[in-house]
Symmetry: C2
Amino acid sequence: MYKLHYLNMSYCYDHPRPAVATDIVLFSIREGRLMLLLVKRAHEPFAGAWALPGGFVGIDENLETSALRELEEETGVTGVYLEQLHTFGESDRDPRGRVISVAYYALTPSDRLYIHAASDAKAVAWFALEDLPPVAFDHEKVVNMAHRRLVAKLDYSTIAFQFMPEMFTLSELQAVYQIILGEELDKRNFRKGVLAMSCLEHTNERRRNGNHRPAQLYRLKSPGRVEFIK
Amino acid sequence: MYKLHYLNMSYCYDHPRPAVATDIVLFSIREGRLMLLLVKRAHEPFAGAWALPGGFVGIDENLETSALRELEEETGVTGVYLEQLHTFGESDRDPRGRVISVAYYALTPSDRLYIHAASDAKAVAWFALEDLPPVAFDHEKVVNMAHRRLVAKLDYSTIAFQFMPEMFTLSELQAVYQIILGEELDKRNFRKGVLAMSCLEHTNERRRNGNHRPAQLYRLKSPGRVEFIK
DNA sequence: CTCACTTAGTGTATAAGTTACACTATCTGA
DNA sequence: TCAGATAGTGTAACTTATACACTAAGTGAG
């Protein structure tokens, strides 16, 4: 039976502490599919297996900072939209000992992705969500929760805009929604819906590609990537 | 600049680790108000100040277990509904050093509350949410997030049922919603709504108190306290 | 230069869901 | 038996969501 006292620091010094890590589920839309970024582990345990990018939190490092740093170190990806997902702390989730993982999910537009294996990750690659390889630790659980959160937030937030580049057409935006939701949406209702949020403004530019009418380019109204409804 | 490797355990042993704690925001409806449980701190820092119940996580202890244990040790309260809220990890949130806190919120019906100051808490007391004393650390932020979450979940989940005793009348349930939302609800629409969820069944018992028509008693349909929509 | 092709862009009628609203029912206690 | 108190019930108006088909504006080939 534990006999710990609340914020009695003697416990802090006298007892072994769990390690604290961050893990990141980075989503992006690529090749018309919802994909996420995995790194190939170089070391035991699970050496050679795919896993979420992540790593241990520095003693004076904020959690978000840690997540962004690990992501950059292992994959070279920066400038993503980041949100905390859940903290996974089952005492047996890491075979080497107690590791508590604060999981984040991140979103990035498809045009801002250059990735490279770095740090001690052997390789970095994008995988379609519905076609994941086996992953290390409890990372499948983390990925599933991140996906459920993403789908849920599509309905009541503007989170999907984080997948879009600076300027985009309404058809492109609709395609993103359809990919994440896995269903077709009605074009007119979709446009009515997103314009009713009144967080889009149309630029004076158009996208002309292919032998057809060029599409109006839109951007987010308020400067920066704002989320209006949490 | 950090040079940490992902799950390279050498980091774990070579570097100082943050302490990990759990904090619990326990809500209940009392005296017609939404209240939460605070403990008076016995030790520095913030000795004598009110704070959320909580404490350090044991090295082999699951996070939920830790939260429930701390709650019981410090306040005597058991058997609550518990859900993870958020993990607070700002590097300066505790004056003594790095403490990462996994915050939970908990709900309990008003009839199952016996509280007593225990462990090294000087005192334990319920406070109305809109009339909180100054609280230690970043606990005000934690409380605010817990409250927002609670209000948000009223709309799309059956979480409010966790405030109810085994059997309750629809008027009592409506009162709970009104207290949490801070607004009056239409009686007929409310009853239509909750009955449409079809997770209530009416018992054959009635509550007769006061000089008026007795009310039908309901209970949750499925055994246990189930939440249907996460 | 015009025609075939491709995607962009637009409005309306119906269905579904939400809101507003007032009276009768049933019990207690004087 | 009557006054007082809370329980319990339905409907019409309004708002929101859904289903649905054609015209517009480019490109490129013949």
